[in-house]
Symmetry: C2
Subunit: 617 residues, 2 copies
């Protein structure tokens, strides 16, 4: 271990005393947290616990005189304590009745590599690994357990879905070290998951990884027995197969259902779930090919397999059909798999959404997705981690909001973004009501601001291909990723209606009808679904090109205004410094985006801004 990392919590900062290493289960932690917290508050109030094993993750909070009675299972009582604290810190009324998480599986996926790098990580090096071995501070992992439990997250996958050597060995000679992490997190109700490489048997003396070959199935069964022997409460395996050059069943002419079911059967006896990522598309597309349309790929591949997956398979689907863009319509696959257990996948790591430099509070995005999808469509929820070795965990101190809010949404997908943001603010800072409202408004608006100055109206993929930060409007245009805007001197966008790629037909009639007509399609998705001339007249009477210019000028003004607001906020010194440093970069980034995008479209269209604002040649 290189150093002892800082161990401040990203919220619930009133909890100054670390959870002792000796505590063995959620009830003991609950008792410790309750006593420490209330004692710290010097209220003299008490908490009693009534445990009902059958309640499991559920809990109820009652007041009893000056104190509280929390009833629940394990880890329910612990969730109850944290819910009590969150409510007290936020000045909210206590939740009434039995509280039960809407989704039983609430996962965080770390994309950490054993060399210590984090794929799409913007908060420092891996919290788990360095130099191809485990390297962590147990005290800090307990702090992480506390944060996860405090918002009810119950599964954590510690290694990247792209399984690079030596992470293959997490399933064999590194297993005892995985168990040590499992033991650290178990008292917080957090179970581990592991990303696995589909071709693992091939690397271990089996001649094939064909899922229909009995030798392969046997190998996995034996392996599962050993893994669950070491970690009986392991949640399951996470698999990225046949995606972006990862191995998978297609190599053997097998379907993804065959691939997933073989693995699922190996782990079913131990209660394991097999999470199979549906992020599969042709990443070697020829840009000349206008028939292939990447957003269609997952539905085309998986929808015919609906009903073919075993009970303990979960198909994990990104919220949009592309890849965690700022604005996408909900993935049609999430609407078209009635007979399959689905998870929706979010990304807390701000890969395309500002690298934890630019502000991007995600609850409004999730609200949109749940509203389009219907929360009942999925049975589980997953999110890519935004965590790293930085002292504040998430690089930008406000990025912690996304982790906090994710946990809340996983329990209550009907949550209001504003209320969740308020809860995080109150659990994190001590601000006057007026300052608090300013910060909440700033966070609530942040996605819209970022959206305004980046790719216009759902066009996507105007970000720099190297790194995914900053503008490069043609950077993806002639590449193999299936990510084209096809801008020319007359028009921009891809026609995804039935006159075009037909993508829109993957939606149920209600959505299809809305999206396929550019006059009813929501503005913010207009260039996702349509190819339009620059003089297309929008619902509000502006031309498309003028709307693009307006958004980009307005986006910068909004970013500058956010910077002013932020400067005036009396945040704690360290958070203030970190946030202001990043805000300077954000304003620069916004100006760069504005000028590049406006110039790009003016060079093509030849149209000037009607208000005469500066567009560079």
């Amino acid at each position: 271990m290189n150093k002892t990392w800082e161990s401040r919590l990203a919220w619930l900062k009133a909890l100054k005393t670390p959870v002792p290493a000796e505590l063995n289960n959620p009830l003991e932690v609950a008792d410790f947290e309750a006593k420490t917290y209330l004692n710290f508050e010097k209220t003299g109030r008490s908490v009693c616990f009534k445990t009902y094993p059958a309640m499991k993750e559920s809990y109820a909070i009652e007041t009893a005189g000056d104190g509280y009675i929390i009833s629940g299972g394990q880890p329910g009582v612990l969730y109850g304590v944290y819910a009590l604290m969150r409510a007290l810190e936020a000045g909210e009324k206590l939740p009434s009745g039995v509280q039960k998480p809407y989704y039983p599986l609430r996962m965080i996926d770390c994309w950490d590599n054993m060399d210590g790098s984090v794929e799409r990580g913007y908060a420092g090096r891996s919290i788990w690994f360095e130099e191809n071995r485990f390297d962590y501070d147990p005290a800090r992992i307990r702090q992480l357990g506390r944060m996860l439990a405090s918002v009810g997250i119950n599964v954590l996958c510690i290694n990247n879905v792209n399984v690079h050597q030596p992470a293959q060995h997490l399933l064999d000679n590194l297993l005892p070290q995985v168990e040590q992490i499992a033991a650290l997190l178990r008292p917080f109700g957090v179970r581990l998951m592991l990303s696995i490489d589909f071709s693992l048997p091939l690397q271990n003396g089996v001649e094939t990884a064909d899922p229909e070959d009995p030798a392969v199935a046997d190998w996995w069964k034996k392996r599962a027995r050993e893994v669950w022997g070491a970690i009986p409460d392991l949640a399951g395996f996470l698999v990225k197969a046949d995606s972006e050059h990862r191995p998978g069943p297609n190599a053997y002419g097998r379907t993804h259902a065959q691939g997933a079911n073989m693995l699922a059967r190996a782990i079913a006896p131990f209660g394991g779930v097999l999470v199979w990522r549906a992020f599969v598309y042709n990443c070697m597309q020829d840009w000349r090919d206008t028939n292939t349309d990447r957003p269609r790929a997952a539905y085309d591949l998986y929808q015919p397999l609906d009903g073919a997956f075993d009970e303990n398979v979960i198909l994990q689907v990104k919220y949009g059909p592309y890849d965690f863009q700022v604005r996408e319509p909900v993935s049609p696959l999430l609407l078209g798999m009635e007979k399959t257990r689905l998870a929706v996948e979010f990304q807390l790591a701000q890969e395309y959404t500002g690298h934890q430099i630019d502000l991007f509070a995600m609850p409004p995005l999730w609200r949109d997705i749940f509203d389009q999808m219907g929360k009942e469509r999925v049975r589980a929820i997953a999110a890519v981690s935004n965590l790293g070795r930085d002292g504040n965990w998430t690089g930008h101190p406000f990025a912690a909001l996304n982790l906090f809010a994710y946990g809340i949404f996983a329990w209550k997908p009907d949550a209001s973004p504003q209320q969740v943001i308020r809860a995080w603010v109150r659990n994190t800072y001590n601000l006057s009501e007026q300052d608090e409202e300013q910060l909440i408004d700033l966070l609530l608006a942040s996605r819209g601001v970022y959206e305004k100055y980046t790719a216009p109206l759902g066009l996507c993929w105007m970000v720099r291909p190297e790194g995914h930060y900053g503008p490069s409007p043609y950077g993806y245009e002639f590449q193999a990723w299936g990510t084209y805007n096809r801008a020319d001197r007359n028009a921009v966008g891809v026609d995804r209606t039935e006159r075009g790629t037909g993508y829109v037909a993957q939606y149920p009639p209600k959505w299809k009808k809305l999206y396929e007509n550019p006059h009813t399609c929501p503005d913010e998705l207009l260039l996702f679904f349509h190819r339009l001339p620059y003089d297309f007249v929008m619902k509000d009477g502006r031309t498309l090109i003028q709307r693009i210019y307006d958004d980009h000028f307005e986006g910068v003004v909004a970013a500058e205004t956010m910077a002013e607001t932020l400067k005036a906020l009396p945040l704690p010194e360290e958070d203030r410094r970190e946030a202001l440093e990043r805000m300077d970069l954000q304003v620069q980034n916004a100006r760069e985006w504005r000028d590049v995008i406006n110039t790009f479209f003016r060079r093509f269209s030849g149209v000037d801004d009607v208000h005469g604002r500066k567009i560079y040649d």
Copy 2:
């Protein structure tokens, strides 16, 4: 050392016997080579040597009966032996009279890092380093010495001009290991040079690297004494300062003359030369800024310093004002420094010229540069190495031609590309006269073919920013590198006349007059100097846009024709396989370039091809 590398020579393949490790000086090597070669040929012919120390690198060859008398200094006699072999292999007549290299300093610069990577290397890992230490096969280094001496190259810089840790220590604790390499190459007349970090004193306890601070000058003097104490024939130091984030004198408000002279004075007592690279420009340019023009940068910075450099400073100037592009006008700095010793810098590594996949024989490019510049303008010559750990040294077996030809041009800058290419072909392969002519024609034409299918008419920088291979016409457009084409719906290019950036005024009147008028400017440089509308009428009556289309269609046909020619050539099996594999990739690359460039310009211009050939939307 990971393995014993193959040690075939890239030319002079008749030399099957390695040069023994015991030989101590060029005369001994000359004797060995002459005897072995003539014996192998079973001609019974003899070679006598007459050594005249004052002749140094010069030599003369006379016939004497059935044998030869070679007179010269050291390493002159060795050069004489190889010249004899080359002439015999090529069936050329022997050079008559005393042969003397035109440039006394004929350098190869390896951009090798101690981690084993090679910056812009396309022939495998470093031949010198791996895992941050020396790692080489002495027998292979002797083969390299043989190849360098066989074409009269006399200086080799082993480490990257971007000096990354731990290469700083080549000057101190790694010095004994540098000396071992110097000893290996000394019998071949090759002297080492080292790239140094201008800020080295700072890393060694001196409080500054200010060249005017006596402590800094003293530190360098002491260091030089130690370095030359270990390697008395070290050629000198190579410095990249104030360039692309490297440290330099500007940080202390000092000129580059002050920086270079301080170092030059430290090494002058030992006969060392200080090679100072003039590759300095603003690599943080704002693309909105149309006044700053990167090609102007070196002249603007250095021309006012003409005459201010010490005698043993050599200012090393890239052949064009940008950076080793396929087609650039000669750098005006090479024409404007009457009172400064200059070196012209070429790049054998095919960074922008096809990655040693696509064919690009460089002699025609050098011929152009010498013709524009006048050979007498410079006093030395340097080239970035194209060498690596690959069995054939250069990745593509034909890329070895560029190393061979570079040595010949360094001796005879008036050389004819065709003759030099013929000499390499005959020293490398045994082909029938007809096949030989086909191969020569193919190589001679290769630059023109590559030029046709890549960025049009001197426009430069349409290559992918990541890696510098393949098309990305707007990839550099909004970046900080000062590399813009400013294409829009009406026109393309940067106006570098006096109405524009004024770059053309850096040239002497003859060239200025030629370049500043688009009707006299050579077609192949038209878009380097001018911004022109797509309907600009070229000298041959075609429009600019049609010329762009024509070139790109023709470039692919030419590449396909080259592929056919190559397939029919009876090359040795290994070379044939390597060349054909790469040719397949080249044809793909050519098609990709054609379609991307044509589509890019058609999207902007809206103009169709007059011949109705396929341009994708």
